[in-house]
């Protein structure tokens, strides 16, 4: 399939923006200037100023001489870039593949998009009128290559639509500047009397290169589609993406739900064909005012169950503010994993325990975040705090057995707490200990169980653990840190037995 590109040229990008901010400037000549080597140089001029001959590159003093009432604004160096980016995002409703063409243009890859708007002419008209009614003076053209589209959008006189295969005809009457060349080359061409592309295009390539450099040949090849031009997309295209343009802006939750369900159905059908399931999904709504509303979900297992995914999204639909209405909905699946047919059928019938559990966990994760859900597996460490670790997934199986040979308390304090004890030396359990101001008289005790510090992980003293029972029948896990040597060792309580 042949590719089609649209380039949009914002003829007065910066001044249009200023005019939008300050409507009273409409139709008045004004310029944007920047301080450069002690003088002010114009970087952008409004249409009215341009009509009076005041243009880019002039010095403000000269321009003031022509027009004393000229208004001058300081340049915001980031403004053009930011504006272009925002406009590019707005244009995402027309095609997913958009690149910024600094300083004042956008490139849209519209291959296969135009038919949705009933052909290229209505499509282009729609884009241009929408942008013009938003207050931007734009010219746009559509062609097989970026080069030709750019040329026609900037210098074309006849039609903004270059029919497929008619690149050469469109280019011939245009000036050499339409090929995006540098100023010195253009001046040289002008000097030689090459005012139009048709006056030099038939010259031998060797001659052209010798006289004007490789750039001219490259630009010609790009314009004629002989070499590929690579553009950097503002948003990489998601492989699994579905979009739903709406005839009228959607403003109600019911409308959003219907859109979501339709998109999910289409996406899940596609996933089913390709034996995939999604792990994460993003649902976006493009609002009329250019704002993008989005909600995201994640799942614990790959899934393509419409009902389940819908439920996950449903929890978050209320966070979308449609304001004046949403024009286009997009559903993306950034993370996709293989999911076989068998797993799928299990999932739908609910025969497996796992499916129900995974569905529940997805809902919990959707509201509480993935961090709230934890599952543990044994880890081969004696040190109590390290004897278990977080499981990576719902299915992960333990590699080792849980140990049963030593008593472990059912409740473990997150940090051992200091206690005061009376204990006979050298290795007897304490006779009593004071914890939180309460004296516990030890009646029965087990121990010691010495647990050495894992020296390859951290330094410190070993622990001698005792399980003790007080006169109330409560059982505690306490330990002594280190030996009895020159200093008195500290005692800690680390847990409570059942």
């Amino acid at each position: 399939m042949s590719r089609r590109f649209i380039t949009i040229w914002f003829r007065h990008l910066v001044t249009d923006r200023i005019m939008l901010r300050k409507p009273e400037l409409k139709g008045l000549p004004f310029v944007v200037a920047v301080q450069e080597r002690g003088r002010k140089v114009i970087t952008a001029a409004s249409a009215a100023a341009q009509a009076l001959g005041i243009d880019y590159g002039m010095v403000v003093a000269d321009a003031r001489a022509t027009l004393p009432s000229l208004q001058v604004f300081d340049e915001d160096p980031q403004l053009a870039e930011k504006l272009l980016h925002a406009l590019a995002i707005w244009c995402l409703r027309y095609t997913p593949e958009i690149a910024v063409d600094p300083p004042d243009g956008l490139i849209l890859d519209v291959s296969g998009c135009a038919y949705l708007w009933g052909g290229e002419r209505p499509y282009l008209k729609e884009i241009v009128t929408k942008l013009r009614s938003a207050g931007y003076d734009v010219r746009a053209a559509i062609a097989d290559t970026i080069g030709t589209a750019w040329a026609v959008s900037h210098y074309g006189q006849v039609s903004p639509i270059v029919e497929p295969g008619a690149l050469l005809d469109a280019l011939l009457p245009l000036p050499p500047a339409a090929l995006r060349l540098e100023q010195p080359i253009l001046e040289r061409m002008h000097k030689l009397g090459l005012y139009r592309i048709n006056s030099f295009i038939s010259m031998p390539r060797l001659t052209l290169r010798r006289r004007f450099g490789q750039l001219l040949l490259d630009r010609l090849d790009q314009a004629l589609g002989r070499s590929q031009e690579i553009i950097e997309l503002i948003r990489p295209v998601e492989l699994y993406q579905e979009r739903l343009p709406c005839l009228e802006p959607i403003r109600t939750a019911t409308g959003i739900e219907i859109a979501l369900r339709r998109l999910l159905e289409v996406l899940c059908l596609r996933l089913q064909r390709e034996q995939k399931g999604l792990r994460a999904a993003v649902f976006k709504g493009f609002r009329i005012d250019g704002n993008i509303q989005q909600i995201e979900i994640g799942t614990n297992r790959p899934t393509r169950n419409v009902e389940h995914l819908f439920k996950l999204f449903e929890l978050k639909i209320s966070t979308i503010t449609p304001a004046l209405g949403i024009e286009v909905f997009i559903l993306e699946a950034p993370v996709v994993e293989d999911l076989s047919q068998v797993q799928d059928s299990l999932w739908n019938t609910g025969a497996g325990h796992q499916a129900g559990v995974a569905n529940l966990l997805d809902r919990l994760a959707g509201r509480l975040g993935m961090g709230a859900i934890r599952r543990y597996l044994p880890d081969e460490h004696y040190w109590p705090e390290r004897s278990f670790r977080l499981a990576a997934s719902l299915e992960e199986k333990p590699a080792a057995d849980w140990r049963l040979d030593r008593p472990r308390p059912i409740c473990l304090l997150s940090k051992p707490e200091l206690i005061e004890v009376t204990a006979p030396i050298p290795d007897y359990p304490p006779m009593l200990f004071i914890y939180k101001g309460k004296i516990h008289k030890v009646i029965k005790a087990d121990g010691p169980e010495r647990i050495e510090r894992e020296w390859w992980l951290e330094n410190g003293l070993h622990r001698d653990y005792y399980a003790v029972e007080d006169e109330q029948g409560a059982r505690y896990w306490i330990f002594r840190l280190g030996h009895y040597d020159e200093h008195k060792p500290e005692w800690f309580i680390h847990g409570v037995f059942a």
């Binding site: 529940l360 934890r374 308390p409 059912i410 005790a445 059942a498």
Partner: protein, 247 residues
């Protein structure tokens, strides 16, 4: 004229109906849990531990909480033995040490811990979990629940037949509840064979404060060799409550 045997049969059937209307549906067909609680099980209607119901546990001190957790873990372990049941452990302030659950017959890797700080989310999560039929048991560590909340939870399990064990640690006030049972578990001196030193196996003073259609009471239950065991000990001080003791 109906024969006497028929009458008894009829009345038993009607009692069963009333029980099921009151939320004691009993286990699903063919599913039998043996908790091994001995005489304690006679306190329940039909002499069976009510599954598919909400059980409340109250505790005030960390020691009681640990004993309660142990007792709950023992119950949960029994409930999880059926098939490859999964347990959800939902809490705001989790103190339980996962490797120790193994001792109470639970494979710790089959327990999914959910940690939530907001009370509203906590209640929502517990309710959602109780509604999920694939759960074997749901353990919720909630500070307290009001009557409305406990009724919501009880209604959820009546649909799904999931057993819910709700542990209320130091509740500010104890309200009426829609739960089927209310328990208080306190630790008592461990069980050890005569003459042997050491702490021995865990032993609890288990009080059934409330049980719908049953007989409340107090029992001494020990956990040894991976199962509950009823202990007969003469002089046991049952602290903090004035309930009649049954054998």
């Amino acid at each position: 004229m109906i024969a006497a045997a028929d009458k008894i049969e009829l009345i038993r059937g009607l009692q069963q109906q009333i029980l099921s209307l009151q939320g004691m549906k009993g286990p699903l067909e063919g599913v039998q849990f043996n908790f091994g609680l001995g005489p304690l099980e006679r306190a329940f209607p039909g002499n069976t531990f009510p599954t598919g119901a909400i059980h409340e546990f109250l505790s005030n001190t960390p020691e009681d909480a640990a004993a309660t957790t142990g007792f709950m873990a023992g119950l949960a372990g029994r409930l999880m033995q059926q098939g490859d049941g999964v347990c959800l452990w939902i809490s705001a302030n989790r103190a339980v040490f996962p490797p120790a659950l193994k001792m109470f017959g639970i494979d710790p890797e089959r327990v999914i811990f959910i940690d939530i700080t907001r009370k509203k989310d906590l209640l929502w999560a517990v309710e959602e979990a109780l509604k999920c039929e694939s759960m074997a048991v749901v353990v919720g560590e909630l500070k307290e629940t009001g009557f409305t909340e406990s009724r919501r939870l009880q209604l959820a399990v009546e649909q799904s037949r999931v057993t819910g064990l709700m542990h209320h640690f130091s509740p500010r006030n104890i309200t009426a509840t829609a739960s089927v049972c209310r328990w208080v578990v306190k630790p008592v001196a461990g069980e050890q064979e005569a003459g042997l030193p050491g702490v021995g196996s865990p032993c609890w003073n288990v009080t059934l404060q409330k049980v719908r259609n049953g007989k409340p009471g107090t029992w001494l239950i020990a956990w040894s060799a991976g199962r509950f065991r009823n202990v007969k000990r003469d002089a046991v001080a049952a602290p903090d409550h004035q309930l009649p003791k049954t054998a």
